[in-house]
Protein backbone atom coordinates (compact mmCIF):
# COMPACT_ATOMS: atom_id res chain seq x y z
CA UNK A 1 0.00 0.00 0.00
CA UNK A 2 1.27 3.42 -0.88
CA UNK A 3 2.61 5.60 1.92
CA UNK A 4 -0.04 8.00 3.27
CA UNK A 5 2.08 11.05 2.45
CA UNK A 6 3.09 10.04 -1.07
CA UNK A 7 2.08 12.69 -3.64
CA UNK A 8 -0.37 14.32 -1.23
CA UNK A 9 1.61 17.58 -1.11
CA UNK A 10 2.97 19.70 -3.93
CA UNK A 11 5.46 22.49 -4.52
CA UNK A 12 2.97 25.18 -5.49
CA UNK A 13 5.25 28.23 -5.62
CA UNK A 14 8.94 29.11 -5.93
CA UNK A 15 10.77 32.43 -5.61
CA UNK A 16 14.29 33.79 -5.47
CA UNK A 17 16.11 37.11 -5.21
CA UNK A 18 19.27 37.90 -7.14
CA UNK A 19 22.25 35.97 -5.74
CA UNK A 20 25.09 38.40 -5.06
CA UNK A 21 28.21 39.07 -3.05
CA UNK A 22 27.32 42.34 -1.43
CA UNK A 23 23.90 43.75 -0.64
CA UNK A 24 22.45 46.65 1.32
CA UNK A 25 19.36 44.58 2.18
CA UNK A 26 18.85 42.70 5.42
CA UNK A 27 18.48 38.95 5.54
CA UNK A 28 14.82 39.48 6.46
CA UNK A 29 14.24 41.77 3.48
CA UNK A 30 15.79 39.20 1.13
CA UNK A 31 13.65 36.47 2.67
CA UNK A 32 10.45 38.51 2.29
CA UNK A 33 11.31 39.49 -1.30
CA UNK A 34 11.76 35.82 -2.23
CA UNK A 35 8.61 34.88 -0.30
CA UNK A 36 6.48 37.42 -2.17
CA UNK A 37 7.87 36.07 -5.45
CA UNK A 38 6.96 32.50 -4.44
CA UNK A 39 3.46 33.54 -3.36
CA UNK A 40 2.90 35.28 -6.71
CA UNK A 41 4.33 32.27 -8.57
CA UNK A 42 1.73 30.07 -6.86
CA UNK A 43 -1.09 32.41 -7.79
CA UNK A 44 -1.79 33.06 -4.12
CA UNK A 45 -1.94 36.21 -2.01
CA UNK A 46 0.24 36.76 1.09
CA UNK A 47 -2.77 36.22 3.37
CA UNK A 48 -3.19 32.68 2.03
CA UNK A 49 -0.06 31.62 3.93
CA UNK A 50 -0.94 29.84 7.17
CA UNK A 51 2.28 27.95 7.93
CA UNK A 52 5.82 29.32 8.27
CA UNK A 53 9.07 27.34 8.39
CA UNK A 54 11.93 29.82 8.17
CA UNK A 55 15.56 28.77 8.07
CA UNK A 56 16.98 29.42 11.51
CA UNK A 57 19.19 30.95 12.78
CA UNK A 58 19.48 33.93 10.46
CA UNK A 59 16.73 35.81 8.61
CA UNK A 60 13.24 36.22 9.96
CA UNK A 61 10.96 34.28 12.27
CA UNK A 62 7.21 33.68 12.03
CA UNK A 63 6.50 36.91 13.91
CA UNK A 64 8.24 38.86 11.15
CA UNK A 65 6.01 37.25 8.53
CA UNK A 66 2.84 38.03 10.45
CA UNK A 67 3.99 41.63 10.85
CA UNK A 68 5.09 42.13 7.25
CA UNK A 69 2.47 40.12 5.39
CA UNK A 70 -0.46 40.69 7.73
CA UNK A 71 -1.08 36.96 8.05
CA UNK A 72 -4.55 36.68 9.61
CA UNK A 73 -4.43 33.17 11.08
CA UNK A 74 -1.03 31.47 11.24
CA UNK A 75 -1.57 27.80 12.14
CA UNK A 76 2.04 26.56 12.19
CA UNK A 77 5.37 28.14 13.13
CA UNK A 78 8.27 25.68 13.13
CA UNK A 79 12.05 25.57 12.97
CA UNK A 80 13.95 22.60 11.58
CA UNK A 81 17.36 22.82 13.23
CA UNK A 82 19.36 20.72 10.73
CA UNK A 83 21.76 23.20 9.14
CA UNK A 84 22.09 22.43 5.43
CA UNK A 85 19.60 19.57 5.71
CA UNK A 86 16.91 21.98 6.94
CA UNK A 87 15.24 23.06 3.71
CA UNK A 88 14.56 19.59 2.31
CA UNK A 89 13.59 18.28 5.75
CA UNK A 90 11.17 21.21 6.01
CA UNK A 91 9.36 19.78 2.98
CA UNK A 92 8.51 16.76 5.13
CA UNK A 93 7.06 18.89 7.94
CA UNK A 94 5.21 21.07 5.43
CA UNK A 95 3.84 18.02 3.60
CA UNK A 96 2.56 16.57 6.89
CA UNK A 97 0.93 19.89 7.74
CA UNK A 98 -0.94 20.26 4.44
CA UNK A 99 -1.79 16.56 4.09
CA UNK A 100 -3.49 16.56 7.48
CA UNK A 101 -5.30 19.85 6.91
CA UNK A 102 -3.48 21.69 9.70
CA UNK A 103 -2.33 24.17 7.05
CA UNK A 104 -3.31 25.07 3.51
CA UNK A 105 -0.12 26.76 2.29
CA UNK A 106 3.21 26.48 4.12
CA UNK A 107 5.99 28.93 3.30
CA UNK A 108 9.59 27.69 3.62
CA UNK A 109 12.10 30.48 3.23
CA UNK A 110 15.70 31.56 3.62
CA UNK A 111 17.22 35.02 3.70
CA UNK A 112 20.89 35.31 4.20
CA UNK A 113 23.66 37.85 4.18
CA UNK A 114 26.40 35.22 4.20
CA UNK A 115 28.80 37.55 2.45
CA UNK A 116 27.96 41.03 3.65
CA UNK A 117 26.76 40.10 7.14
CA UNK A 118 27.92 37.59 9.74
CA UNK A 119 30.20 35.01 8.14
CA UNK A 120 30.88 31.41 8.90
CA UNK A 121 32.70 31.50 12.24
CA UNK A 122 30.22 33.90 13.80
CA UNK A 123 27.20 32.13 12.40
CA UNK A 124 28.06 28.69 13.71
CA UNK A 125 28.36 29.88 17.27
CA UNK A 126 24.60 30.48 17.18
CA UNK A 127 23.95 26.75 16.75
CA UNK A 128 23.51 24.80 19.99
CA UNK A 129 24.35 21.71 17.91
CA UNK A 130 27.91 23.03 17.64
CA UNK A 131 28.45 23.13 21.42
CA UNK A 132 30.63 20.01 21.41
CA UNK A 133 32.73 21.27 18.52
CA UNK A 134 33.10 24.57 20.35
CA UNK A 135 34.27 22.86 23.54
CA UNK A 136 36.49 20.09 22.18
CA UNK A 137 37.57 21.09 18.68
CA UNK A 138 37.62 24.86 18.28
CA UNK A 139 40.37 25.20 20.93
CA UNK A 140 42.71 22.95 18.92
CA UNK A 141 42.06 24.96 15.75
CA UNK A 142 39.23 22.98 14.19
CA UNK A 143 35.82 24.58 13.91
CA UNK A 144 34.71 25.57 10.41
CA UNK A 145 32.77 23.03 8.31
CA UNK A 146 35.64 23.03 5.77
CA UNK A 147 37.87 21.66 8.53
CA UNK A 148 35.39 19.32 10.20
CA UNK A 149 34.26 17.71 6.92
CA UNK A 150 37.79 17.55 5.49
CA UNK A 151 38.70 14.62 7.71
CA UNK A 152 35.93 12.48 6.21
CA UNK A 153 37.02 13.44 2.70
CA UNK A 154 40.63 12.56 3.49
CA UNK A 155 39.57 9.16 4.83
CA UNK A 156 37.54 8.45 1.69
CA UNK A 157 40.61 9.31 -0.41
CA UNK A 158 42.87 7.03 1.62
CA UNK A 159 40.44 4.11 1.66
CA UNK A 160 39.11 4.27 -1.90
CA UNK A 161 41.60 6.25 -3.97
CA UNK A 162 39.31 9.25 -4.54
CA UNK A 163 41.39 12.13 -5.93
CA UNK A 164 41.39 15.92 -6.32
CA UNK A 165 40.70 15.30 -10.02
CA UNK A 166 37.32 13.84 -9.01
CA UNK A 167 36.64 16.85 -6.78
CA UNK A 168 37.55 19.18 -9.66
CA UNK A 169 35.08 17.44 -11.98
CA UNK A 170 32.24 18.31 -9.60
CA UNK A 171 33.40 21.95 -9.33
CA UNK A 172 33.84 22.40 -13.10
CA UNK A 173 30.56 20.68 -14.05
CA UNK A 174 28.66 22.76 -11.51
CA UNK A 175 30.24 25.96 -12.85
CA UNK A 176 29.32 25.03 -16.42
CA UNK A 177 25.72 24.69 -15.29
CA UNK A 178 25.81 27.99 -13.38
CA UNK A 179 26.88 29.85 -16.51
CA UNK A 180 23.68 28.68 -18.23
CA UNK A 181 21.51 29.96 -15.39
CA UNK A 182 22.17 33.69 -15.32
CA UNK A 183 21.21 34.38 -11.69
CA UNK A 184 24.49 33.24 -10.17
CA UNK A 185 27.42 34.63 -8.23
CA UNK A 186 30.10 32.76 -10.23
CA UNK A 187 29.59 33.25 -13.96
CA UNK A 188 33.11 32.80 -15.37
CA UNK A 189 34.33 29.47 -16.75
CA UNK A 190 36.36 27.27 -14.38
CA UNK A 191 38.93 24.68 -15.50
CA UNK A 192 40.38 21.66 -13.75
CA UNK A 193 43.69 23.55 -13.68
CA UNK A 194 42.00 26.54 -11.99
CA UNK A 195 40.65 24.18 -9.36
CA UNK A 196 44.03 22.53 -8.71
CA UNK A 197 45.76 25.94 -8.53
CA UNK A 198 43.29 27.42 -6.03
CA UNK A 199 44.60 27.88 -2.51
CA UNK A 200 44.35 25.11 0.03
CA UNK A 201 41.74 25.78 2.70
CA UNK A 202 41.78 22.62 4.79
CA UNK A 203 43.39 19.64 3.09
CA UNK A 204 42.00 18.07 0.94
CA UNK A 205 39.63 21.00 0.31
CA UNK A 206 40.87 23.79 -1.92
CA UNK A 207 39.01 27.06 -2.42
CA UNK A 208 37.02 25.72 -5.38
CA UNK A 209 35.93 22.68 -3.38
CA UNK A 210 34.07 25.01 -1.02
CA UNK A 211 30.62 26.53 -1.41
CA UNK A 212 30.10 30.27 -1.65
CA UNK A 213 29.44 32.81 1.01
CA UNK A 214 26.81 34.90 -0.71
CA UNK A 215 23.77 37.09 -0.15
CA UNK A 216 20.30 36.15 -1.28
CA UNK A 217 16.85 34.86 -0.48
CA UNK A 218 14.80 31.88 -1.60
CA UNK A 219 11.30 30.61 -0.85
CA UNK A 220 9.07 27.65 -1.61
CA UNK A 221 5.37 27.11 -0.93
CA UNK A 222 3.96 23.67 -0.16
CA UNK A 223 0.22 23.10 -0.63
CA UNK A 224 -2.01 20.04 -0.70
CA UNK A 225 -1.83 18.47 -4.17
CA UNK A 226 -5.58 18.64 -4.77
CA UNK A 227 -5.56 22.38 -4.02
CA UNK A 228 -2.36 23.07 -5.94
CA UNK A 229 -3.94 21.68 -9.12
CA UNK A 230 -6.00 24.84 -9.45
CA UNK A 231 -3.03 27.18 -8.95
CA UNK A 232 -0.85 28.79 -11.61
CA UNK A 233 1.78 26.24 -12.54
CA UNK A 234 2.29 22.64 -13.66
CA UNK A 235 1.78 20.38 -10.64
CA UNK A 236 4.98 19.05 -9.05
CA UNK A 237 4.26 16.66 -6.20
CA UNK A 238 6.35 15.41 -3.29
CA UNK A 239 6.48 11.70 -3.97
CA UNK A 240 8.84 10.80 -1.16
CA UNK A 241 10.49 12.83 1.57
CA UNK A 242 12.53 12.04 4.69
CA UNK A 243 15.08 13.39 7.13
CA UNK A 244 17.84 11.36 8.75
CA UNK A 245 20.09 11.88 11.74
CA UNK A 246 23.43 10.09 11.99
CA UNK A 247 24.97 8.43 15.01
CA UNK A 248 26.82 10.92 17.21
CA UNK A 249 24.95 13.74 15.50
CA UNK A 250 26.76 16.63 17.19
CA UNK A 251 30.27 15.21 16.90
CA UNK A 252 31.72 13.86 13.68
CA UNK A 253 34.83 12.84 15.59
CA UNK A 254 32.94 10.28 17.68
CA UNK A 255 30.84 8.89 14.81
CA UNK A 256 31.73 5.21 14.28
CA UNK A 257 31.87 5.72 10.49
CA UNK A 258 32.60 9.31 9.47
CA UNK A 259 31.07 8.63 6.06
CA UNK A 260 27.68 7.43 7.34
CA UNK A 261 25.72 10.64 6.90
CA UNK A 262 22.11 10.99 8.05
CA UNK A 263 21.22 10.64 4.38
CA UNK A 264 21.77 6.87 4.73
CA UNK A 265 18.59 6.70 6.80
CA UNK A 266 16.71 9.42 4.89
CA UNK A 267 17.42 7.75 1.54
CA UNK A 268 16.08 4.40 2.71
CA UNK A 269 12.81 5.93 3.91
CA UNK A 270 12.51 8.47 1.10
CA UNK A 271 12.88 5.89 -1.69
CA UNK A 272 10.51 3.58 0.16
CA UNK A 273 7.82 6.25 0.45
CA UNK A 274 8.15 7.15 -3.23
CA UNK A 275 8.32 3.52 -4.32
CA UNK A 276 11.06 4.30 -6.82
CA UNK A 277 14.77 3.62 -7.31
CA UNK A 278 17.85 5.67 -8.27
CA UNK A 279 17.53 4.57 -11.92
CA UNK A 280 14.17 6.40 -12.11
CA UNK A 281 15.75 9.83 -11.59
CA UNK A 282 16.06 12.15 -14.58
CA UNK A 283 17.93 14.83 -12.64
CA UNK A 284 19.41 15.25 -9.14
CA UNK A 285 20.10 18.38 -7.13
CA UNK A 286 22.67 17.34 -4.52
CA UNK A 287 23.57 19.52 -1.55
CA UNK A 288 27.06 20.75 -2.42
CA UNK A 289 28.62 22.51 0.53
CA UNK A 290 31.81 20.80 -0.66
CA UNK A 291 32.66 18.89 -3.84
CA UNK A 292 33.40 15.74 -1.88
CA UNK A 293 30.04 15.92 -0.13
CA UNK A 294 28.40 15.47 -3.54
CA UNK A 295 30.56 12.45 -4.35
CA UNK A 296 29.74 10.70 -1.10
CA UNK A 297 26.01 11.46 -1.33
CA UNK A 298 25.87 9.94 -4.84
CA UNK A 299 27.18 6.73 -3.26
CA UNK A 300 24.72 6.86 -0.38
CA UNK A 301 21.86 7.52 -2.79
CA UNK A 302 22.68 4.32 -4.63
CA UNK A 303 23.84 5.78 -7.94
CA UNK A 304 27.08 3.86 -7.40
CA UNK A 305 28.71 1.76 -4.70
CA UNK A 306 30.64 3.12 -1.73
CA UNK A 307 34.12 4.03 -2.92
CA UNK A 308 33.05 4.47 -6.55
CA UNK A 309 31.76 8.05 -6.26
CA UNK A 310 34.98 9.55 -7.61
CA UNK A 311 35.05 7.60 -10.90
CA UNK A 312 31.23 7.97 -11.14
CA UNK A 313 31.36 11.76 -11.55
CA UNK A 314 33.84 11.56 -14.46
CA UNK A 315 33.35 11.41 -18.23
CA UNK A 316 30.43 13.81 -18.39
CA UNK A 317 28.10 11.57 -16.43
CA UNK A 318 26.90 14.34 -14.09
CA UNK A 319 26.74 17.10 -16.71
CA UNK A 320 23.78 18.15 -18.84
CA UNK A 321 23.32 15.48 -21.47
CA UNK A 322 24.94 12.91 -19.19
CA UNK A 323 23.44 9.90 -17.48
CA UNK A 324 22.59 11.86 -14.31
CA UNK A 325 22.73 15.64 -14.62
CA UNK A 326 23.27 17.17 -11.19
CA UNK A 327 23.09 20.69 -9.80
CA UNK A 328 21.79 22.09 -13.05
CA UNK A 329 21.53 25.59 -11.52
CA UNK A 330 25.10 25.88 -10.27
CA UNK A 331 24.44 24.81 -6.70
CA UNK A 332 26.03 26.23 -3.59
CA UNK A 333 29.41 25.99 -5.30
CA UNK A 334 28.61 28.47 -8.07
CA UNK A 335 25.07 29.85 -7.91
CA UNK A 336 24.67 30.98 -4.31
CA UNK A 337 24.37 29.69 -0.76
CA UNK A 338 20.79 29.78 0.41
CA UNK A 339 21.20 26.54 2.34
CA UNK A 340 19.96 24.43 -0.55
CA UNK A 341 16.52 25.92 -0.99
CA UNK A 342 17.81 26.90 -4.45
CA UNK A 343 18.18 23.16 -5.11
CA UNK A 344 14.49 22.59 -4.36
CA UNK A 345 13.59 25.52 -6.61
CA UNK A 346 15.76 24.21 -9.46
CA UNK A 347 14.31 20.71 -9.27
CA UNK A 348 10.81 22.20 -9.40
CA UNK A 349 11.78 24.26 -12.46
CA UNK A 350 13.23 21.19 -14.17
CA UNK A 351 10.04 19.22 -13.59
CA UNK A 352 7.86 22.12 -14.76
CA UNK A 353 10.00 22.46 -17.88
CA UNK A 354 11.04 26.00 -16.86
CA UNK A 355 14.82 25.44 -16.52
CA UNK A 356 15.79 27.41 -19.64
CA UNK A 357 19.18 26.60 -21.14
CA UNK A 358 19.81 24.03 -18.40
CA UNK A 359 16.59 22.11 -19.04
CA UNK A 360 16.99 18.33 -18.85
CA UNK A 361 14.93 16.99 -21.74
CA UNK A 362 11.65 15.40 -20.65
CA UNK A 363 12.55 15.53 -16.95
CA UNK A 364 9.66 13.92 -15.09
CA UNK A 365 11.18 12.82 -11.81
CA UNK A 366 14.15 13.94 -9.75
CA UNK A 367 15.58 14.12 -6.30
CA UNK A 368 17.01 16.80 -4.07
CA UNK A 369 19.12 16.34 -0.94
CA UNK A 370 20.11 18.35 2.08
CA UNK A 371 23.25 17.83 4.15
CA UNK A 372 24.49 19.74 7.14
CA UNK A 373 24.80 20.33 10.83
CA UNK A 374 27.64 17.77 11.16
CA UNK A 375 26.00 15.23 8.87
CA UNK A 376 22.22 15.43 9.14
CA UNK A 377 20.60 14.47 5.86
CA UNK A 378 17.36 14.88 3.98
CA UNK A 379 15.91 13.67 0.69
CA UNK A 380 12.91 14.63 -1.39
CA UNK A 381 11.80 12.92 -4.57
CA UNK A 382 9.59 15.13 -6.73
CA UNK A 383 7.68 14.39 -9.92
CA UNK A 384 5.60 16.19 -12.47
CA UNK A 385 2.02 15.02 -12.17
CA UNK A 386 0.69 13.24 -15.25
Amino acid sequence: MAHALRDTAAISGIGETAYTRGTAKSGLALQLEASLAAIADAGLGPRDIDGIIPYFPGGGIAEDFVANLGLPDLALSAFIPMGGATCVAALQTAAMAVATGVCKNVLISVGRTGYSGARVSTRLQQFPQFALAAEFEAPIGMFAPAQLYAQGARRHMQLYGTTPRHFAEVAVTTRNHAILNGNVVMNKPLTVEDHHASRMISDPFRLFDCSLESDGGAAVIVSASDRAKSLNKPLVTIMGVAEGHPESPASIAQRPDLLEFGLVKAARRGYEMAGVAPKDMDVAEIYDCFTFTVIRQLEILGFCKTGEGGPFVMDGRIGLGGELPINTHGGLLSQGHVVGLNHVIELTRQLRGEAGKAQVKDAEMGLVTGYGDMGDGSLAILRRAA
Partner: protein, 144 residues
Amino acid sequence: MSTTTAPAAPAAPERPMPVPTRESKPYWDGLREGRFMLQHCAACGKVRHYPRPVCPHCFSMASSFKEAPRGGTVHTWTVCHHPFNFFFKPQAPYIVALVDMDAGVRVNAQLHGVAEKDLKIGQRVKLAFEPITAEITLPFFTPS
Protein backbone atom coordinates in the same frame (compact mmCIF):
# COMPACT_ATOMS: atom_id res chain seq x y z
CA MET B 1 22.69 47.69 -6.85
CA SER B 2 24.53 49.15 -3.86
CA THR B 3 27.12 47.03 -2.14
CA THR B 4 28.88 46.88 1.20
CA THR B 5 32.27 45.36 1.85
CA ALA B 6 32.82 42.33 4.04
CA PRO B 7 33.88 43.00 7.64
CA ALA B 8 37.62 43.01 8.32
CA ALA B 9 39.28 40.23 10.31
CA PRO B 10 39.36 40.85 14.07
CA ALA B 11 42.41 42.87 15.13
CA ALA B 12 43.42 40.99 18.29
CA PRO B 13 42.24 37.39 18.02
CA GLU B 14 41.86 35.32 21.14
CA ARG B 15 42.26 31.59 21.32
CA PRO B 16 38.87 29.88 21.53
CA MET B 17 38.84 28.19 24.92
CA PRO B 18 36.81 25.29 26.23
CA VAL B 19 34.21 26.10 28.85
CA PRO B 20 33.99 22.92 30.95
CA THR B 21 30.46 21.82 31.80
CA ARG B 22 29.20 19.85 34.78
CA GLU B 23 29.56 16.75 32.63
CA SER B 24 32.98 17.45 31.16
CA LYS B 25 34.80 19.03 34.11
CA PRO B 26 36.57 15.81 35.21
CA TYR B 27 37.99 15.41 31.67
CA TRP B 28 39.48 18.92 31.68
CA ASP B 29 40.65 18.57 35.30
CA GLY B 30 42.45 15.40 34.23
CA LEU B 31 44.24 17.05 31.32
CA ARG B 32 45.42 19.84 33.65
CA GLU B 33 46.88 17.19 35.96
CA GLY B 34 48.57 15.37 33.07
CA ARG B 35 46.08 12.51 33.05
CA PHE B 36 43.80 11.35 30.19
CA MET B 37 40.54 10.76 32.04
CA LEU B 38 37.51 9.17 30.36
CA GLN B 39 33.93 8.70 31.53
CA HIS B 40 32.83 5.12 32.18
CA CYS B 41 29.34 3.87 32.95
CA ALA B 42 29.11 2.71 36.56
CA ALA B 43 26.50 0.06 35.60
CA CYS B 44 27.73 -1.56 32.36
CA GLY B 45 31.31 -0.31 32.40
CA LYS B 46 31.32 1.03 28.83
CA VAL B 47 33.42 4.10 28.03
CA ARG B 48 31.84 7.19 26.45
CA HIS B 49 33.17 10.41 24.98
CA TYR B 50 32.39 13.26 24.83
CA PRO B 51 31.06 13.27 28.41
CA ARG B 52 27.27 13.20 28.80
CA PRO B 53 24.72 12.44 31.53
CA VAL B 54 23.26 9.09 30.34
CA CYS B 55 24.92 5.88 29.14
CA PRO B 56 23.53 5.29 25.62
CA HIS B 57 23.95 1.51 26.04
CA CYS B 58 22.16 0.84 29.36
CA PHE B 59 20.70 4.29 30.23
CA SER B 60 22.34 4.42 33.64
CA MET B 61 23.06 7.92 34.91
CA ALA B 62 25.82 6.74 37.25
CA SER B 63 29.36 7.16 35.93
CA SER B 64 32.94 7.68 36.99
CA PHE B 65 36.09 8.95 35.32
CA LYS B 66 39.11 6.65 35.02
CA GLU B 67 42.58 7.28 33.68
CA ALA B 68 42.96 5.79 30.21
CA PRO B 69 45.98 4.76 28.12
CA ARG B 70 47.33 7.53 25.89
CA GLY B 71 48.24 5.55 22.76
CA GLY B 72 46.21 5.39 19.57
CA THR B 73 46.24 5.09 15.80
CA VAL B 74 45.50 7.75 13.20
CA HIS B 75 41.96 7.38 11.81
CA THR B 76 42.20 10.37 9.44
CA TRP B 77 43.46 13.96 9.38
CA THR B 78 43.23 17.38 7.80
CA VAL B 79 45.89 20.00 7.26
CA CYS B 80 44.47 23.40 8.14
CA HIS B 81 45.84 26.16 5.90
CA HIS B 82 43.17 28.84 6.11
CA PRO B 83 42.89 30.23 9.64
CA PHE B 84 39.13 30.53 10.10
CA ASN B 85 39.98 31.91 13.53
CA PHE B 86 42.88 34.33 13.08
CA PHE B 87 44.42 33.23 16.36
CA PHE B 88 45.69 30.19 14.46
CA LYS B 89 47.24 32.14 11.58
CA PRO B 90 50.83 31.93 12.90
CA GLN B 91 50.46 28.14 13.33
CA ALA B 92 49.09 27.42 9.84
CA PRO B 93 49.45 25.05 8.18
CA TYR B 94 48.89 22.66 11.06
CA ILE B 95 47.80 19.04 11.12
CA VAL B 96 44.70 17.98 13.05
CA ALA B 97 44.64 14.21 13.48
CA LEU B 98 41.57 12.23 14.45
CA VAL B 99 42.87 9.32 16.50
CA ASP B 100 41.32 5.99 17.48
CA MET B 101 42.51 5.81 21.06
CA ASP B 102 43.37 2.39 22.47
CA ALA B 103 40.85 3.31 25.18
CA GLY B 104 38.00 2.97 22.65
CA VAL B 105 37.10 6.60 21.92
CA ARG B 106 38.37 9.16 19.43
CA VAL B 107 40.31 12.34 20.12
CA ASN B 108 40.84 15.18 17.66
CA ALA B 109 44.00 17.16 18.33
CA GLN B 110 46.95 18.74 16.59
CA LEU B 111 49.69 16.33 15.58
CA HIS B 112 53.22 17.63 16.05
CA GLY B 113 56.48 16.16 14.76
CA VAL B 114 55.14 14.41 11.63
CA ALA B 115 55.53 15.73 8.07
CA GLU B 116 52.36 15.92 5.98
CA LYS B 117 53.80 13.55 3.35
CA ASP B 118 54.43 10.88 5.99
CA LEU B 119 50.86 10.80 7.33
CA LYS B 120 49.00 7.55 7.00
CA ILE B 121 45.96 5.82 8.43
CA GLY B 122 46.91 3.42 11.20
CA GLN B 123 50.06 5.28 12.24
CA ARG B 124 50.76 5.04 16.00
CA VAL B 125 50.66 8.25 18.03
CA LYS B 126 50.57 9.22 21.69
CA LEU B 127 48.52 11.90 23.44
CA ALA B 128 50.51 14.62 25.24
CA PHE B 129 49.55 17.69 27.27
CA GLU B 130 50.00 21.38 26.49
CA PRO B 131 49.13 23.76 29.35
CA ILE B 132 47.41 26.87 27.94
CA THR B 133 46.26 28.64 31.11
CA ALA B 134 46.26 27.80 34.81
CA GLU B 135 42.91 26.07 34.28
CA ILE B 136 43.03 24.66 30.76
CA THR B 137 45.41 22.11 29.26
CA LEU B 138 44.83 20.92 25.72
CA PRO B 139 45.79 17.56 24.24
CA PHE B 140 48.11 17.14 21.24
CA PHE B 141 49.66 14.12 19.56
CA THR B 142 53.24 13.12 18.93
CA PRO B 143 54.58 10.07 17.08
CA SER B 144 54.99 7.16 19.50
